[in-house]
Amino acid sequence: MNVLALVLLSIGAAGFMFRLLRGPSLPDRVVGLDGLLSIVVIGIIVAAARSGSGGITIETVLVAVFVGFVGTTALSRFIERRGN
């Protein structure tokens, strides 16, 4: 059953990866990167639930969420300053 969740996540990751590689503009690529990172976060949580133990696997997710937020905000500042 957890394998089904991982398969669904892979399909979603393919969609975000498509937008990351072939976004017409820079904000499209940022959208793809942000969504890809949230897919990775959900995947880590599913994998932790599959192994049945919390521990350090769950704590990795906190770092990933922070990195995603800082990356999106920094790229937004970059777009706001430079354009395109």
């Binding site: 957890n2 969740a5 503009s25 969504g35």
Partner: protein, 110 residues
């Protein structure tokens, strides 16, 4: 209870997949942002509830609550910053009437 947790895990993953499909199929930056910002957030909440039930320790549940709160706080802020920056800096082809530009023009006229 275990079946309930697995249903939550699959439902959350399906929501994240719907976000990915929407990002491919919408043909407008702001529509894509709408699909990419909201659906995976709800998916993360469902998956976190399911994983907290399945793991069952207090430490894991606390960490997952922290993750959900953090995502709920940061996801709208990031989406807003990105949409504001792209709206100000770039010309984006919209698929409908641009009401914001009309409003700004009527405000500067009066």
């Amino acid at each position: 209870m275990d079946t309930f947790a697995e249903i939550l895990l699959v439902a959350g993953s399906a929501l994240a997949m719907i976000g990915g499909i929407g990002v491919v199929r919408f043909d407008d930056l702001f529509s894509r942002m709408h699909a990419a910002a909201k659906a995976p957030t709800l998916g993360l909440i469902l998956v976190a509830i399911g994983a907290a039930i399945e793991i069952g320790t207090v430490l894991a549940a606390t960490t997952l609550v922290l993750v959900v709160i953090l995502q709920l706080l940061t996801s709208p802020v990031g989406a807003h910053a990105l949409s504001r920056a792209s709206r100000r800096q770039m010309t984006i082809d919209l698929d409908d009437v641009d009401q914001l530009t009309a409003d700004e023009q009527s405000a500067s006229d009066s």
